[in-house]
C-alpha cells in the first residue's frame, strides 16, 4: 500500500508549481481532486506540449477538443470536478468538499480565493484543522506580492540566471525552474504540516513563494557576497574547483559533459586522452586552470572522434565524472532509467499509451503494484465528487449542471 493512502487534497492549483506538488502526493497514494472550471480552464490543458486528441483521452465533454501532453505529464492519478466559483452555489459546494479534505492547495494569485470567500481565515472557521497551502511567485506578503509572476519570468529575479551563460554574454535560463523548485518544496511543506496535524490536531496556512525556493540553492554565492562583497559571475560551463570541466561536441551531433574534481581523476583522464607530457599529467588544479583552453582543445579533439555514449563509457571506466548531455530522446533510451522503471506507461481510453516521468524516491518496502490512471478530463469525476462524496442525488447535480454551477 502506498504511503499517503488516506490523505485527501482539494487542489485548486493550476499549470505547474501546484500541480507538480500534488502529482507527488497522488503518486504516493493521496486522493487529489482538482477543482476546475470551463470558464477559467487551466491553460496547461491546452498549452503545454503536443496535442492528444479528445477521442484518445476518452473525453466525456465537448468543452475540450484536445489535451496537451504537458498537462498529462503533471496530472496522472488525479481526479477532476468542475465548479464555476463565480457562482455562490459553486463556492458552497467547494467548501463542502474542503470539509472532507485534509489539504487545500492553490496558486491562484494572492487574494483571489479570499475574494471568493474561500481564503484560509474563512475556511478554518468551518474546518479548524485544515492545511491550506498557498503558492505564489513572490509570496502573499511584501511590497511586490501583487506583481504578475509566472515561474519562467520571476526566476530571473532570484539571481540564478545571472550566473548562467558565458561571461559578458546573454544570461541563459533553465525553463520554468522556479515552478519546479516551488513544487518540490511545497511537497515537503505540505507533509510537514500533515505531520504536525497528526501530532497536535492543528492545521495551518503555508505561504510559499517560488522566489524563496530558489534562493537557498544559491547559498554559496549569497554568502560569498555577504562575506566578501564578491558578486558571482557566469563562467560558461567551467568551475574553478573542477578543472577541467566542460561540455564537448562528439560524433553524430551528441555532447559529452566532463567534470574533473581530483588530481587522480585528472591522471585517469590523461590516460584516456593519451596525454604523455608529465608536466601536464602532474599539473595541479591551479595549473590546469591556467591551461584550461588547451585542455579543452585536447578533450574536444578526443570527443569528436566518438559518440557521447562511447565517450562516457570509456570515461566512466576510468572513474572520470562524465555524462551524455541528453535530449528527451536520449532520456527515453537511457538504459539506467529504463532499468529502474522510472518511466510510467499510462494507457489512453481511446487506445495507445503515453509515458510519464515518475517522481524521485523509490519506496523499497510493501508498495505492491501501484495503479496508474491517466490525467483526468475536465470534470471526469463530477459524479464521484458530487454524487458519491457530497451525497447529492442525480436530479440535483443535473440541475446544477444546467445552472452552470457545475461547469
Amino acid at each position: 500500500m502506498q504511503p499517503l493512502v488516506g490523505l485527501r487534497v482539494a487542489d485548486f492549483s493550476r499549470v505547474l508549481a501546484g500541480p507538480y506538488a500534488t502529482l507527488h502526493l497522488a503518486l504516493w497514494g493521496a486522493e487529489v481532486i482538482r477543482i476546475e472550471s470551463t470558464r477559467r480552464m487551466d491553460m496547461s490543458r491546452r498549452g503545454l506540449g503536443g496535442r492528444v486528441p479528445a477521442h484518445v483521452m476518452g473525453q466525456v465533454r465537448s468543452a475540450e477538443g484536445f489535451v496537451t501532453t504537458g498537462f498529462v505529464a503533471v496530472n496522472i492519478n488525479k481526479r477532476s470536478c468542475r465548479l464555476d466559483l463565480t457562482k455562490a452555489k459553486a463556492r458552497e459546494l467547494g467548501k463542502q468538499l474542503i470539509q472532507l479534505s485534509d489539504v487545500v492547495t492553490e496558486n491562484m494569485g494572492p487574494g483571489t480565493l479570499e475574494r471568493l470567500g474561500m481564503g484560509y481565515e474563512e475556511l478554518r472557521s468551518i474546518k479548524p484543522d485544515l492545511i491550506y497551502v498557498s503558492l505564489s511567485g513572490l509570496g502573499r506578503t511584501g511590497p511586490d506580492s501583487g506583481y504578475i509572476a509566472y515561474g519562467n519570468s520571476l526566476q530571473h529575479v532570484t539571481g540564478l540566471t545571472s550566473l548562467l551563460g558565458y561571461p559578458n554574454g546573454t544570461p541563459a535560463s533553465p525553463a520554468y525552474w522556479a515552478d519546479w523548485t516551488a513544487g518540490m518544496n511545497a511537497v515537503f511543506a505540505i507533509l510537514a504540516a500533515v505531520y504536525h496535524r497528526e501530532e497536535t490536531g492543528e492545521g495551518q496556512l503555508i505561504d510559499i513563494s517560488m522566489l524563496e525556493t530558489v534562493t537557498p540553492t544559491l547559498a554559496e554565492e549569497i554568502l560569498d557576497y555577504s562575506m566578501n562583497r564578491r558578486c558571482a559571475q557566469p563562467r560558461g560551463n567551467r568551475d574553478p574547483r573542477h578543472v577541467p570541466q566542460g561540455v564537448y561536441r562528439c560524433a553524430q551531433d551528441t555532447w559529452v559533459a566532463v567534470s574533473v574534481t581530483t588530481d587522480a581523476q585528472w591522471k585517469a583522464l590523461c590516460g584516456v586522452l593519451g596525454l604523455q607530457d608529465p608536466i601536464i599529467i602532474e599539473a595541479d588544479s591551479a595549473r590546469r586552470e591556467r591551461l584550461h583552453d588547451e585542455l579543452d582543445r585536447r578533450i574536444a579533439t578526443w570527443a569528436a572522434e566518438r559518440t557521447a555514449a562511447d565517450a562516457v563509457e570509456v570515461l566512466q571506466g576510468a572513474g572520470v565524472p562524465s555524462a551524455i548531455s541528453y535530449d528527451v530522446a536520449g532520456l527515453s533510451q537511457d538504459p539506467h532509467l529504463r532499468q529502474r522503471g522510472f518511466f510510467i506507461t499510462v494507457p489512453f481510453r481511446g487506445g495507445g499509451t503515453i509515458e510519464i516521468c515518475g517522481v524521485p524516491a523509490k519506496f523499497a518496502l510493501g508498495q505492491g503494484t501501484p495503479e496508474y490512471r491517466n490525467a483526468p478530463t475536465l470534470g471526469e469525476h463530477d459524479d464521484y465528487v458530487f454524487n458519491q462524496l457530497l451525497g447529492l442525488d442525480r436530479e440535483t447535480t443535473a440541475q446544477l449542471v444546467s445552472e452552470g454551477v457545475i461547469y
Binding site: S162, P216, E220, D327, H336
Partner: protein
C-alpha cells in the same frame, strides 16, 4: 508555533550537500539531528568555502554553516568495528537515517538496511546517491554539473542568443541536483512517517539525483513519447525571445502570452507606431516575426534601467522581471519583507546573511539556535552522554581514529 519535529530523531551520514541539506530541513524544524563526519578532515564541504576574507578555515566555511544549522556534530568511522557498534546503537533509537554514501557502503560496514530495520522496525532510511541504489550507472562518478546534463536539463537551458551550431548545452553552477534530491528525499521520508503512523513500520527510500532532475523535464518527455519529436534548441530559444533582453544596465525578462498583456506592454512603450503593424497583431504573428520585433523592443529597453522597466512594467501588469545579480538579490526589499534571510554565526564574533528556508507562517523554521557544529563538537555529549562510552574509552577511540 513550536518546533514541528521536536520529537523526531534524525541521523545524517555522507557529507556534501544532498544529505546535509535534507537533514537541515528536519533540524531547522526542531528534529534532534546528529551529523556524522569522518574523523580527521570531516565533511568535504568544510573546505568548500566561501570563507571570510578568503581565508580557508574548516570551521568557517559559509556553505557548511548554511547546510548544518541546528545539528549536533560527531566524528565516527563506521568501517571500524567499534565505530559500527556505536552507529548501530545510535540508529536503534532514531526515526530517520539520511545517508549519501556510495551504494553498498552501509552493507560493507556490516550495517545493511535490512538489519537496521530488523533492529528498529520503525526506522525510515533515506539514501541519496547520483544514480540510485540499483541500475547500470549505479557506480558511475558524478558531479552536480554532469548530472544536470545526464538528466537532459543541459539541453533545456536556453539562451536567446544561441549560436546554435557552435554553443554547447549549458550547465548550471552550484548544487541544483543536490538540493532537488535533498528536498525529494525529505518529502519521501515524511510520506514514510505518515505511513508509519498507521502501520508502525519504517521504510528504505532510494533517491536518485539524476531522477530528481529528470522529473522536471516531464512535459517535453511526455510529448516525445507521443510524437517522437525533440524540440530543437533553436525553437526553444525563439519561443523565449523576450527572455533576458539587454537594457541600459543589464537584462530584463518578460513573458507576454495573452493579448491584453501585449496591449499593456505597448502602453508601457508609449504606443509606438510600429506596434500598429499587421505582423505584430497577435501572438502567432509575433512569434513568426520575432526577429523583427525584438530589435524594436530593444530600442526601448536600452534606454531604461532594469529597475525602471521592472517597476513600470509591473505597474502596467506586465510579467516583467529584472535579471538580478547576487548583489541585487541580497538587497531586494521583497526578500527583506519576507524575512527570507538568516544570520549565520560563521566566525567568532562574525555573523553573515544567508538564505532562510522557504516556508512561511505555520511551517516556520526555527532561527539558527545552534550554529553548525565544529568538527566533533558533540562527541562527548553523544558518545558519553547518550551511548554510555566512558571518557577513557573516548580517548582510545580518538587515538584509534574510530572517532
Amino acid at each position: 508555533m513550536s518546533a514541528i519535529f521536536g520529537n523526531l530523531k534524525a541521523v545524517e551520514v555522507g557529507g556534501g550537500v544532498a544529505a546535509p541539506y535534507c537533514a537541515k530541513l528536519f533540524a531547522d524544524l526542531g528534529a534532534e539531528t546528529i551529523k556524522i563526519e569522518p574523523p580527521g578532515c570531516g565533511d568535504p564541504v568544510r573546505s568548500a568555502g566561501p570563507f571570510p576574507g578568503d581565508s580557508p578555515d574548516p570551521e568557517c566555511s559559509g556553505l557548511f554553516h548554511f547546510l548544518n544549522t541546528n545539528k549536533f556534530g560527531i566524528t565516527l568511522d563506521p568501517s571500524k568495528p567499534t565505530g559500527r557498534a556505536l552507529l548501530r546503537h545510535l540508529l536503534r533509537n532514531a526515526d530517520i537515517l539520511i545517508e549519501s554514501e556510495k551504494p553498498g557502503t552501509l552493507a560493507s560496514w556490516g550495517l545493511p538496511p535490512q538489519d537496521l530495520l530488523a533492529e528498529n522496525p520503525g526506522l525510515v532510511i533515506v539514501s541519496i546517491t547520483p544514480f540510485g541504489q540499483t541500475g547500470p550507472y549505479r557506480d558511475y562518478a558524478a558531479t552536480d554539473m554532469t548530472l544536470w546534463h545526464f538528466s537532459s536539463l543541459g539541453m533545456q537551458t536556453f539562451t536567446r542568443s544561441y549560436a546554435y551550431e557552435e554553443d554547447p548545452p549549458w550547465s548550471v553552477p552550484g548544487y541544483q541536483a543536490s538540493f532537488a534530491s535533498a528536498v525529494a528525499a525529505a518529502s519521501a521520508a515524511l510520506a514514510a512517517l505518515f505511513q508509519r503512523h498507521r502501520t508502525g513500520r519504517g521504510q528504505h527510500i532510494d533517491v536518485s539525483m539524476q531522477e530528481a532532475l529528470v522529473s522536471t523535464n516531464r512535459s517535453d518527455f511526455s510529448t516525445y513519447s507521443i510524437e517522437g519529436m525533440v524540440w530543437p534548441r533553436k525553437e526553444v530559444a525563439l519561443a523565449n525571445a523576450l527572455t533576458c533582453l539587454p537594457c541600459k544596465d543589464g537584462y530584463v525578462s518578460m513573458v507576454i502570452n495573452e493579448q491584453h498583456q501585449w496591449e499593456s506592454f505597448l502602453k508601457l512603450l508609449g504606443s509606438p507606431e510600429w506596434s500598429k503593424e499587421e505582423i505584430f497583431r497577435d501572438n502567432e504573428k509575433r512569434r513568426l516575426y520575432m526577429d523583427a520585433l525584438v530589435p524594436l523592443v530593444l530600442e526601448w529597453t536600452m534606454q531604461h534601467t532594469k529597475e525602471e522597466i521592472y517597476r513600470a512594467g509591473q505597474a502596467q501588469r506586465v510579467a516583467v522581471f529584472p535579471v538580478y545579480t547576487i548583489e541585487e538579490v541580497t538587497n531586494y526589499p521583497q526578500l527583506e519583507a519576507r524575512e527570507a534571510w538568516q544570520s549565520l554565526s560563521i566566525a567568532p564574533g562574525k555573523a553573515y546573511r544567508g538564505p532562510a528556508l522557504p516556508y512561511r507562517n505555520g511551517v516556520r523554521p526555527l532561527s539558527a539556535w545552534l550554529a553548525a557544529p565544529r568538527l566533533g563538537q558533540h562527541n562527548e555529549l553523544v558518545f558519553c552522554g547518550r551511548l554510555g562510552v566512558s571518557r577513557e574509552e573516548l580517548v582510545i577511540l580518538r587515538e584509534g581514529r574510530t572517532i
